[in-house]
């Protein structure tokens, strides 16, 4: 039991970070505002969770201009995908072990 709990990634303990990873794992380049609507969080809150995951190397950021408007989008990295799938596996194991 202990070993499974160790497999849970500390970076995903927060609900919003887990939500971020869930969305990015099934999409390619998602806009900031889209994430905000889906997760129902404030700008500042979302930005801080994004930068935490970015620091871990789990997601990457792309800033560019679409016409005159700045456009920031995010994508999951290979490391992030692996970490996220390990985390979900661990959660599922935890559930199975408990039943």
């Amino acid at each position: 039991m202990k070993s499974i709990i160790h497999q849970l990634d500390k970076a995903f303990e927060n609900r919003i970070r887990l939500g971020l990873m869930s969305i990015l794992s099934v999409n390619d380049w998602v806009e900031f505002n889209e994430l905000k609507t889906l997760l129902e969080v404030t700008d500042g809150n979302l930005a801080s969770h994004i930068s935490a995951l970015d620091k871990k190397g789990y997601i990457e950021t792309r800033k560019r201009f679409v016409g005159k408007k700045p456009n920031t989008t995010f994508r999951i990295t290979d490391d992030g995908r692996e970490a996220f799938s390990n985390h979900i596996n661990a959660l599922e194991m935890l559930l199975k072990g408990a039943i």
Binding site: L18, G19, S22, I23, S25, V26, E34, L91, L95
Partner: protein, 214 residues
Amino acid sequence: MEENQATLDTLKDIKSLMERSSRFISLSGLSGVFSGTLALIGAYLAHWKTNQGPWIQRAQDTDFGTGEIVSIDWSVVWFLSIDALLVFILSMFVGYYFSRQKALRKGQPLWGTYSKQFLINLSLPLVTGGIFCMILFYHGLIGLIAPASLVFYGLALLNGGKFSFEEISYLGMSEIALGLAGLVFKGQGLLFWAIGFGVLHIVYGILMYIRHDR
């Protein structure tokens, strides 16, 4: 036990976010049922109008609805065009209405990346098919229009289905098969059209309603 529930809830949250963000799941099964019914009414009206008497004369009768046209009753052509257009517009309206209701009820945004992708992928083959059918009419190949529209509609659903429920893809494949069958059997275009746009919509609409709407 409580921790179990929390883990289960977390996994459910993850799944729901993945679905909400990547697929257009506000599409309501009810819109399928209603647009199917509209299509059946439209098909019946077309059947009634074209059976009132001979409205088209060809150099040779191919009983496939093809061959060089000698004379054509334009009032019938207009009737059929307006009939088809009305079915199309009303179906779009019904589809929008029920999807909006479902989005409101489930707290999903109606217009997002996913619904945009769905519509763009749906409309490209659909517009191609529309133009293709007009060219068929231009060449006098009227009997091929109904089955051809089924094939293109099926391709459009298959293309858009990636961004919505898997039933949409299956409906697409059924429409393609039906359209191809309609191209083989002579002079039964309207019947195949009624099955494809009427019956299949109602059947898949009920299926989707049971699986996803409630």
